[in-house]
Amino acid sequence: MDGTEPLTIPGNWNFSYRYFAGDTATRFFSELRDNSRIMGTRNPVSGNVMVPARTFSDADYVETTEWVEVSNEGKLEAFSIVGTKFPGLPDPPFVLGYVTLDGADTAILNHVTGVDLSDIEVAAQELLKQPRVKAVFKDQREGRITDFCFEVLHDGAEK
């Protein structure tokens, strides 16, 4: 090159989509909104209850046959403590976690609250014990996954 600055231009994709949830997910989110209930569906082959509710099991490749209400309490399986700010989410740090609710055989993702994050290492030691958590619902619900979050129950850590 002759010393000319290489050309660099900005780019931004901003397309709109219309996502169709389908009947199964529509009922799942409606139950969150209308009844503060977390529902799963049963795989008729394995008997496993999948939460969030699904139309089919991808492992056994069969339609689910039965709706099952699961407990609002369960065990924290895995977590991530997020330290980066994202639009629409709380100021960091905050915790995301996969929770297997009592009566369910699969885990569901959501925010985890009720942990003192002033010292991340101390908080992590508590979360690594896979504590019991409880789903806490918002007063104003919209039929979205953010209608609830999980709160750590400090007196019920599992070994």
Partner: protein, 357 residues
Amino acid sequence: MNKTKNQAHIYGAAVEMSWMDASQSLTDLIFSGVTAALKDADMTLEAADSIVLGASDLIDGRSLSSMVTAPAAGAYMKDEIRLSEDGLAAASFGAARIEAGESQVTVVAAWGRASEGDPLAVSRAGSDPFLHQPLCISEMDVSAFRLSRWLGRYPDNDASRRAASAERQRRAAGNPHALHSVTAPRDVPYPLREDESCRWGDVVAAMVIGKAPGKVLISGVGHGTDHADLGERDLLEMPALRDAARLSLDAAGINLSDVGLFEIDGMTLSDEALSAEAVGLCPAGDGFRALAERQDINPSGGSEAGWCYPAMGLVRLIEAYQMLRAPQGPDGPRRAMATGLGGGGAQTATAIVLEKT
């Protein structure tokens, strides 16, 4: 050994890594990488009758990017297959075309240019719109989930984590392909540590394979696909990768102990460690120690040497190929395995076994 009539042999390959080089467009980088692979194979593009590509429109930031990038990889007027998958899956498709007898010489290319966009933002935008997008999880969060699960089951491994991190930095520093400069920030969610993240890079990998005998043979290929939903997966056992590795060994007609060199893909150090466990290279819970102590696992330095989805499985294969091909004593490895992981938290996995002929 592979019982098919045709077998796929490797003739040459190249890995090129850079960062934010504004003097080169994406197509310039692809052209350079494929040209280097052809030169390594001592061939020109005329020798190839087909092309297999592994790339992602979203990482490329170009809709229908195959239209733009495929000719840069040599696809003009050739039979082209394009996968929006990890580059090792592209290599397996290339090998399948050779074994099926529908191609004599194939160029396999894969790339990802992290400096033009934000791969983690892409992964956030690409997740399930109902369950995951509202929570903004990225591939890095999935890695953190997996590590948190591991730490809960195998506490008191801090020394081996730190040793594995130091060792892969040492190995990456000696890797001639590696990026050594500071690239993108290595911000990670806890419990990951910054030094356990990848070194983001602009990566092009290319390989030339064909039916006529060469010095290294693709002797086994395996694939695996896990549940769609992370909440249904076994985050520690990584069964898709476990099965892919087993199937590749079965196809090659060998056992894991017959393989003397492993290049294991993973965006983070912990993904590499857990992948090593899934492949069966060490007992569960010993992945970090294996990376720290075993010289036959990721001598390249893994994702510390430079990383961008979806090129990395092919990078791992090329690292293994070049180490097999390098001069070595009679005790040097005759066989190698490379693994590659797909997006969506490694929902898909590929393993390929190489053998010196």
